[in-house]
Symmetry: C2
């Protein structure tokens, strides 16, 4: 089962030493534990709509005697909630140490902190912009070389009839490049696969995804995305920028790199989840901003996908990071393009500007736009459903790294082959006019001075194909070309998303949409009419692109702004909004958005914005985990070590209780302490006896906790002698003395709101005598979701 644990996660590798401390090493033991929380029987006591009837245990039992190595097939379904993901602590631990530090700090101290927050955001922006710049230039150069080689080869062989050799060359070249990208991802850092947006979404939601914001992930991601784009896969380089920005933010804000073992002794104040998560929001925004040249869109993306508590100062910092990021990118790209100082060029993606009279639209076009939105929603839903099945298949059968690499190479080869075939059989020849801007026009069997129009769509990086579809003259493409292109690219993109390569889904989606949108426009224009406004198919390509992307990812507000900023024109704001709304409504009727599907398939305890609508039946009493392992305020070291080492509990937070001495009254809640804090205390041997005998050389400071953050050592690595086990530990100074509590009768929506709004990790349920009766954590809330048949409860699984 330990192996299963590994395989269905985003990062299909064994836990590394560092991450295990906080991330419940105890869970690796395969025994199901009946004590740690009320098992599923408990859930069925309360009549919830309809309980999921899938039981993971059965499936696992049948699998138990399979090889201890990698099983051939991994059973998996989406009605599970993994216990292996932990929450971030967005709530500050307000213990005495913290309060003392805050009280010591002067007003100027706080001003300095605020200024250093801005500095960090500036750095995040600059570095993210530089990375985007690097990716852009690398892709352009490498893709240029590749297309030159292939083009020359094709041109040589067009007459000679040896086109199959060209095909072979193209396919092998693509496969080889993709292989490099897939190998580094599959073998070195599996979490770098995909666009990274689902992972960042989870992180911003408050879930600790292991290794997601590490330097190594960033390196693999950047190299991986260059390989996948250059390798000709149906992917974009934009999505991964968001992940890259987040990693940069997590790194810069901590003022050190654990991977490089380098501590700059800066920004130590920011070494906690609260601050780190804020900076990661800024990083994600900076990534979007660099990717699409959309600083406002970036801010909205961060907020729409991540933030729960809107804080004005934070928003401004995020905005600043976004701004700096797009600014840096523009500046360096302007140097690269030899137009130094001209900052008017947008982000990584360049849709070209929609300007002049062609941008007008009329009232009677609104229904057409809405219809296109609906088509986008339908196609998006189809895409998502196909990708869902594919992902299930991949989780079950394609989980070995070598298989993953082979699949990626296969997709690369097939993409090349399909493109080649399409170009080969297409006879859509267009004149090579003077205003033609295509970099690699393929003549093939066309007459001299003409080029193959199918090739503009296939034989190009996807960004450039999108731009051609938006801006090329009416008549540049014939409908058949566009139809065939849409069809093939749709399936290729669907197959590609989820491969073990770093790649985004934004650009392929836009490309599919732009293709059918342009087709739509051409068909409209063929309807006899006096009006000339329909003459511009580029407009419909834009709307189609928005519809398709909206249908797949289901973002509305941020996507509208991103599209507006990327096209440099606000006139289309209104139609784009309408289209995105329609696409979302239509798509949601069938299936969730692509990112949500992938989050669900990873069984991540993702908290949505609100509790399920019909969950007022449930109260804290029913959702909480109980009984809770409590610690005394002055506790024996042995007890603490045993509690932490006990593989049958998986709690990371322990309510601290106090027994009034001499009385037999029940113990009352007086605080909450985290596993990570206890680990640090044990490591520094902060025992009462030692303090009395003055053996401790100094008082433990907040700095000690910050130094250990975020990779706290596991309990197993801490040696506690038999004598020390008999010592006592005084938790008073270190525990959070004022944890949030709720009474047992609190309804689930109310608990949910408190938990979500404040980004809590542990919420203590107390009775009216202030005794601890339970503990609500993320998984207790994420368990309930609204299915097709009312409220459903997900099964908790150790996977």
């Amino acid at each position: 089962m330990a192996n299963i644990t590994k395989k269905v996660s985003w990062s299909s590798r064994a836990d590394e030493s560092g991450a295990t401390g906080e991330r419940t090493p105890l869970l690796n033991g395969s025994e199901q534990n009946p004590h740690s929380r009320q098992p599923s029987e408990g859930g069925s006591i309360f009549q919830i709509g309809r309980l999921s009837t899938v039981d993971l245990e059965e499936e696992i039992t049948s699998d138990e005697d399979s090889l201890r190595g990698r099983p051939k097939e991994i059973p998996h379904n989406e009605k599970l909630l993994s216990l292996k993901y932990e929450s971030l602590d967005y709530d500050n631990v307000e213990n005495q140490l913290f309060l003392e530090e805050e009280r010591r700090m002067s007003y100027m101290g706080f001003r300095c902190l605020e200024i250093s927050r801005w500095v960090v955001c500036g750095l995040i922006g600059i570095l993210t912009g530089l990375i985007a710049c690097f990716i852009d230039i690398a892709v352009e150069q490498l893709a240029g070389i590749k297309y030159q080689v292939v083009k020359k080869n094709i041109e040589n062989f067009t007459e000679a009839g040896g086109l199959s050799i060209s095909l072979l060359l193209w396919a092998v070249l693509n496969s080889a490049i993709v292989m490099v990208g897939a190998i580094i991802v599959a073998f070195f850092e599996p979490i770098a696969a995909g666009s990274g947006i689902p992972q960042i979404k989870c992180y911003l939601n408050g879930i600790k995804i292991p290794r997601v914001v590490r330097l190594k992930t960033l390196v693999v991601k950047v190299c991986g995305v260059i390989c996948s784009v250059v390798g000709g896969l149906a992917v974009g380089k934009e999505g991964p920028m968001i992940h890259s920005g987040a990693v940069v933010a997590a790194g810069v804000s901590q003022g050190r790199s654990t991977s490089l073992k380098k501590d700059f002794k800066m920004f130590e104040y920011f070494r906690r989840d609260t601050e780190k998560r804020d900076f990661v929001s800024a990083g994600a925004a900076a990534g979007v901003s660099a990717a699409f040249g959309a600083p406002v869109g970036g801010v909205l993306f961060s907020l729409e996908e991540g933030a729960s508590f809107w804080n004005q100062m934070l928003t401004w910092r995020i905005f600043f990071a976004s701004m700096i990021s797009t600014f840096t990118l523009n500046f360096f790209l302007s140097i690269y393009h030899k137009k130094t100082g001209d900052l008017s060029s947008p982000g990584l993606i360049n849709f070209g500007r929609f300007q002049g009279d062609s941008v007008a639209y009329n009232l009677y076009e609104i229904p057409l736009f809405i219809a296109m939105g609906a088509i986008g929603g339908l196609l998006g839903a189809l895409f998502n459903i196909l990708n869902y099945w594919l992902t299930i298949f991949r989780i079950r059968y394609v989980h070995r790294p070598c298989l993953q690499v082979m699949e990626a190479m296969l997709v690369a080869a097939v993409t090349a082959a399909v493109s080649f075939t399409m170009i080969y059989f297409s006879n859509d020849c267009q004149p090579l006019g003077p205003e033609h801007t295509d970099e690699y026009p393929l003549q093939l069997f066309c007459a001299d001075g003409e080029y193959n129009s199918m090739a503009t769509a296939f034989f190009n990086t996807p960004e450039k194909s999108v731009r051609s579809l938006f801006h090329n003259q009416p008549g540049s493409y014939n409908p058949l070309t566009l139809g065939l292109f849409t069809l093939t690219y749709f399936f290729l993109a669907c197959w590609t998303y989820g491969l073990a390569v770093s790649a985004g889904v934004f650009i392929p989606s836009l490309l599919i949409g732009a293709a059918w949108g342009r087709l739509f426009g051409i068909l409209l224009a063929s309807i006899p009419s006096k009006d000339t406004i329909w003459a511009d198919p580029g407009k419909y390509a834009l709307i189609g692109a928005a519809a398709q992307l909206g249908g797949i990812v289901r973002m509305t507000l941020s996507l509208t702004v991103i599209m507006v900023e990327a096209t440099g024109n606000v006139t289309y704001g209104l139609p784009i909004m309408l289209v995105l709304m329609t696409a979302k409504i239509v798509g949601d009727y069938f299936v969730e958005g692509l990112y949500d599907i992938h989050i669900k398939l990873q069984s991540v305890p993702f908290l949505h914005w609100d509790a399920p609508a019909t969950s007022h039946w449930l109260t804290a009493r029913e959702v909480m985990s109980s009984p809770v392992t409590c610690l005394n305020r002055i506790e024996k070291v042995g007890t603490i070590v045993d509690t932490l080492s006990n593989t049958s509990t998986n709690h990371n937070g322990f309510p601290v209780v106090v027994q009034v001495s001499g009385s037999d009254e029940p113990a009352k809640l007086c605080g909450l302490i985290l596993r990570s804090q206890l680990i640090v205390l044990l490591k520094h041997k902060v025992f009462v006896e030692l303090a009395r005998s003055r053996l401790t050389h100094r008082k433990l400071q907040l700095k000690d906790f910050r130094d250990a953050y975020p990779r706290f050592p596991p309990i197993q690595s801490i040696h506690v002698s038999q004598d020390e086990r008999e010592c006592m530990m005084d938790l008073t100074e270190f525990m959070n003395a004022t944890p949030y509590t709720v009474p047992q009768e609190t309804s689930l929506p109310r608990v949910f709101k408190l938990f979500r709004a404040l980004g809590l990790r542990h919420l203590v349920v107390a009775d009216d005598e202030n005794r601890v009766v339970g503990l609500v954590t993320r998984k207790d809330l994420a368990r309930y979701h609204l299915g097709k048949h009312g409220l459903e409860e997900l099964q908790l699984a150790q996977t």
Copy 2:
């Protein structure tokens, strides 16, 4: 003192019957009450940075023997916190009735509710758009007539030398129109004065501002703004749209109008503060959207100014309302402009489009933009300081409606006179080219075929002047004209803001900024240089406009988006951001934003985003009000009536406690009940004895509370007989059984965060036995603010 209470409020009128029920009629008694909360001596026990030394009482005492009528001078300062403003309840009252209703509701029921929320938002958008359309057309028509009359008159008299008659005509015309606007505002609905943005900001912050979202306010606001703009004041029609949108939202979402005594029996579910405030956010956004043609800017405005908890579904609804609003406006304006169906025209304001090559900017211009931002910040700070003094003066001396009307008329006359003088003495003649679009060119003493360029700036509605400054050809204005115009308009606008007329400050600010920005651009262009990019002063006019507006109102994110959407060009996004940030940083160094100044001067308990940085010293124990008036779960009617009638308490929420029968243990907290709920219970005589004797015909339902919302009757209007006083009331069903509580040791920032994030109104402070020891309300938190010398505490005042 009761009169003083009235005068320093935004709505300088005696409380009306309706508002008083919830809004503590008890406060009208002029006795200072030592019991209701710890008085200021209590505050000084705890060492807070430096306490404000101003004592309201002294000043009032000296004033006590003044006339009982309207005192001539009202003492006032900004270091006060009024006790007369109440919080909204953004936290749902989860009592048994509510939970039962929620539990009865099926999943389909929730879907229907969600759909009706969207319908309401659609209606809000449509109505707001229509109102904007009405204002726009009315202003255009009326101003057209006025300018025609004056122009004809001036032209007639230019040669004849009777220009003083023209001046008189212009001044009298303006004064007369402004008089109408001032009279309806000053005498009928004082809350409709100004832009309404500070009031809406407070409402969204969670403060109940009396009469701010009433139908009458809307009518007065709309008529008032038309009069002020047509009357030629230095005002805009955009700011008031935000208020109008908010009123529309509050009205539509309740499905009834209390003023019109019409109940449509619709949307009854939305009759509570939580839902209403959400809709008001949408209304404010729709208002911005209609005013500036900026739907995304509207959403961001609502969020930046108001929301604390970002909810995705809510954001989308707000977005929808914004979208519909701008759509409606565009559609009807397109009919009005006889281009039916062309939706490409933007909102109320029309800055014209910046297009083509003139929009480019270069790296070396960035420092210039930043410098302009700094100038904007300085000028903005100056504007705010002047207006602050003026407002203090107005509060003290100009508080009678007739004085207010006279001041408004005076300003109108002076504005006309100054404009006339400026035009008269200006000799900036420009040729009347074919591309000239000015509607009312004044020839005056210019040669034939020329027009007076000063007149384009003054003799026009401010929106059109802004557009001219942005887009007129280089050379249309000479530097002296612009300099003089900036100077005069600056002081006129500063004098105008705060008059008893409905008017916005956006457009005048933009106009001032555009004028000096253009001047800046002209001066730059006069520097010898080979580069042609500086040739366009329109670009600098735009940047200057942004800088000036940013320096005055200090918004950044939303204002950037509004400017981008209003100009229809995203290229300037980055410079505008930089400029707004700079303006904010520079301006904040001197003084707060204009809206914040006005909010502070009204002593509103406004909660900022975070607790003051250095407030970790304070704990709940120190900030809470105590002792708290508690009620028993089963309480004698007489006690309740006495508690509610007691003029020495001002609480609106009462913790409910339960005494374990027979034991002498202290009473434990078991719930929280609101004054408004008790009033409804008393009104329906929900007494235990009646229930037993089956005299109550039906069980009290949630509907009864909703029907009474939001104008709960005052306790005085409820008759309770002596017999009834002996009855008992069972509060179990009606109280919120799970109020949020915090321990006494909780630090202020932690209390603040909980309070702010969840939008609470009452937060119970309990000890570790779960006994009530205090109650934290909005004013307990709003009292602390960061002054120049560290943490300061505001004085609570009955004003």
